[in-house]
Amino acid sequence: MTYLLAMRPEELLTPTPAGLCCRPGGFHIDPTRAVARALITHGHSDHARPGHGAVLATPETIDLMRLRYGEGFAGTVQPIRYGERLRLDGVTVSFHPAGHVLGSAQILVEAGGLRIVASGDYKDVADPTCLPFEPVACDVFITEATFGLPVFRHGDPDAEIAKLLRSAALFPERAHLVGAYSLGKAQRVIALLRTGGYDKPIYLHGAMEAITQYYASRMDLGVLRLARDADKADLVGAIAICPPTSLNDRWSRRFPDPVSAFASGWMRVRARARQRGVELPLVISDHSDWNGLTATVAASGASDIWVTHGAEDALVYWCQSRGLRARPLHMIGYGDEEGESESPNREGGNA
């Protein structure tokens, strides 16, 4: 086993076109194409893809993949609890809460005293729908940088929900449509609305029905209804949650004079909100903002920082200016959990 002590981080985890590959352990993390053995950080479609030979993930992530892709989404599946240590060939792996969405995990990979954390997507702020982010000490910290610019400071999500509720009070004859990613963001917005005191039924787009029901079986999300079952009269003054691509599409025509809101960290930048024709931008993000990224990097104790995707330049620069080794991995295939680009089949009128 002495050769492992001399192992360089790039030998333990290697960036490849298929994703991060652990050759000594014989697995990939969040692979972008079908592989023999995949460790999955969380259920978003850019990280959790179907067709792998074997999948290791938290029980929630496995449930969510099954909901999305059906029973046969992988050859074999193995659930792993947070904190449980598992030996894969010469490598030990464990999953730790990432605070991103329900079931999301950072994956700690250990071999010969070297500790690498692949954090997937994460946030370091409270979220009523998932366990909080848990800092894990390591030598190499692999981080995303979706919001890796100092202009991104997400602020207080309750204040954004209060803005939505004020608008609903000011325009009682209109419906408020909130664009939110189907997995995680939608349910977090619902939970935030409930803690914000909103107790009326919340209407859902059909595309998020199954996942929201799964969340609702584990936490109280209040009365939920499907928009397609509602009369136009029911939708007067209603709040409805839908995938971002449905906000400005034919689906939205069933609502009376809808106000188009969008819950996303991108809404911090006015041009992004205007491009999408959003009237009520809500800065609510499931990713770390700039302060969260830099604080997490610092708290990891890692001397090597690998940046997978997002705005890598600024974060790499920040790390280097603090004496850390940092490099961008330029990984392709991440950061598009909702299939942001439009396609005609996403615009279905009956969803």
Partner: protein, 573 residues
């Protein structure tokens, strides 16, 4: 400041007029004096203080952030004020926003301090305010101090909103507005029924103008030609020229736009000629060698920040008067048009100014005679000025001068638009109610390109169609998209496949901004030409020829090409 910032933030994203008004109304109703008054002043452009320059803001942020991180951020965001607002360092992290809100400056503090602040004190003061505000507050403050509010709310809309608080008419506010000062405590007290109407001590106030309705063919049957008079409808800017004497004997002269905006500073050459007491209603035109110039020429004089002697010499402003509202101290608005017209004619003679003349009447006895004049103004007495005529105005002889758009008294009968058949090339989604429809269309006409015949864009239009036609075009766009560029869809357009529009427009201009080299004035979709293939659409050369001939000659080509034809036949001829 936070409430005002939240209002600006929401207004900046809101496309609908009614919703904007609701947001403003809610703000004015629930915000105490004097903050709401200063907000009204900020929105109506009534605040005056030394604006902060971008350089100052750059210096402030450079002192507080890493230059590389700032450069990367500015590059991403693209707007200086917004970048600074977003990355301004906040002490104590993000959890104390509510504390910050409590100690942030009020709008009143900011406005009153700015009014008296010396240039050297501005940077430190601005930094202190920025420290006390959140992202939205900082953005609003920077927009305010740089004088770039741009939230899509007109002064008129803000005044209308205030008027509605007390079920008042906006024009009542317009009348007293010039004598009011921020923060408008007396105005709010009046509309809320707590005090009497503020006195208008203004010797040269704006009077809300009388407006006309567009006439339809069907209207003529019910109208008796002998009860009306007609004038040319000039293609200029509707203005009101007012002059009056203060208590101290000083004469105040002002030029107002149709909406009551004081535009005197832009037309000093014309205002100098207001040597009368009273109020004239008329058209602002550019006059060269006794000839009225086209709107294209007038446009070159408009919206200039500084008015240089060269600009004045090149584009001399002129007032062509068509009504007299006040003569000396006498308010004529209750008199009939016939009486006012006689008084106007006498007043213009008395005035004896080269800058101000009378808009002539168009003689007619029957509607068909007027139709003939409208079709050929040059032959009907307009002579060389015919190029600047966009139709006729029809006014009841016995109509008093009423503000707003009273029914049946004044009519406008515009010349028929130009029309061209063009092919839909690109479509983009609309805003607000139309956000789920592809409702903004770029269309093109044929020209010879490097690789043979090609369509070149000549304009963009987003209205003119019915709701049913919109639904049809929307479906066509979705079913025939061949390419996507961000929010823009390219729609199929070759010889045989594509959608042909009949596009109506008021005129053409040379443009360096468009590939085709021309720009249309007021284009709109007048019809869907489902009967036509794209190959039957018009050619750029046809538009070029029109531009060459001069915009106002509209005879069809000798070959009878249906390119530039009068859209609807004149049924009265």
């Amino acid at each position: 400041m936070n409430r005002f910032a939240a209002l600006l933030d929401r207004l900046a994203y809101e496309p609908g007029r009614n919703a904007k008004q609701r947001l403003l109304g809610n703000y004015f109703r629930t915000t105490p004096d004097p903050d709401r008054g200063y907000a009204l002043a900020a929105i109506t452009g009534a605040l005056s203080f030394r604006h902060a320059k971008p350089g100052l803001i750059r210096t402030l942020i450079a002192e507080r952030t890493d230059p590389t991180l700032f450069a990367l951020s500015y590059d991403y965001v693209g707007d200086l004020s917004e970048t600074v607002a977003l990355m301004w360092p906040v002490s104590g992290g993000k959890s104390d926003l509510s504390d910050l809100e409590k100690r942030g400056p009020t709008l009143s503090e900011i406005v009153t301090t700015l009014a008296s602040l010396g240039k050297t004190e501005l940077p430190a003061q601005l930094a202190q305010w920025l420290d006390g505000l959140d992202e939205v507050g900082r953005w609003a403050l920077l927009k305010l101090v740089t004088g770039a509010l741009r939230i899509g709310v007109s002064a008129r809309l803000a005044k209308t909103t205030v008027a509605e608080i007390g079920n008042r008419d906006t024009d009542e506010i317009e009348i007293v507005w010039p004598s009011l000062k921020p923060p408008y405590g007396d105005l709010f007290a009046w509309v809320e029924g707590r005090a009497a109407k503020p006195e208008s001590g203004d010797p040269a106030p704006f009077r809300p103008p009388m407006l006309s309705h567009a006439i339809e063919e069907a209207d003529f049957a019910a109208l008796d030609a002998s009860e009306f008079m007609a004038e040319w409808k000039w293609d200029g800017i509707r203005v009101q020229a007012v002059a009056g004497r203060c208590l101290d004997g000083r004469v105040v002269s002002r030029l107002f736009s149709r909406t009551g905006e004081d535009i005197s500073a832009s037309f000093p050459d014309l205002v100098d000629a207001f040597r009368f007491e009273g109020a004239l209603d008329g058209e602002l035109l550019i006059m060269r060698d006794g000839r009225v110039q086209s709107f294209n020429v007038l446009q070159q004089r408009l919206n200039r920040k500084t008015v240089t002697p060269k600009l004045i010499a090149e584009f001399p402003a002129h007032l062509r008067a068509y009504d007299l509202l006040v003569d000396g101290a006498e308010d004529l608005r209750g008199e009939t048009f016939a009486v006012r017209r006689a008084r106007l004619e006498a007043a213009v003679v008395r005035l004896d100014s080269a800058r101000i003349d009378l808009s002539p009447l168009v003689p007619f006895t029957t509607w068909s005679a007027l139709a003939a004049g409208r079709a050929d103004p040059a032959a009907a007495g307009a002579g060389l000025d015919a190029e600047a005529i966009e139709g006729v105005m029809i006014k009841r002889c016995d109509a008093p001068y009423l503000p707003g758009r009273p029914k049946g008294l004044w009519w406008k009968w515009k010349r028929d638009p130009f029309v061209v058949d063009a092919v839909l090339m690109y479509a983009q989604r609309g805003h607000g109610k139309r956000s789920s429809f592809y409702s903004d269309y770029t269309f093109g006409v044929w020209t010879a390109g490097a690789a043979g015949e090609e369509l070149v864009p000549v304009g963009k239009a987003y209205f003119g169609f019915t709701d049913a036609e919109l639904a049809e075009i929307d479906k066509f766009v979705r079913d025939n998209t061949v390419n996507r560029f961000g929010p823009v869809r390219e729609v199929v357009h070759d010889n045989d496949r594509g959608l042909v529009f009949e596009v109506a427009f008021e005129g053409l201009q040379r443009s360096t901004r468009h590939k085709s080299g021309i720009a249309m004035r007021f284009p709109r979709i007048s019809r869907l030409r489902r009967d036509k293939h794209p190959r039957d659409a018009d050619r750029l050369e046809t538009l070029e020829a029109l531009l060459e001939r001069g915009i106002r000659s509209r005879e069809t080509d000798a070959g009878g090409r249906a390119a530039l034809r009068i859209a609807a036949g004149d049924v009265l001829k």
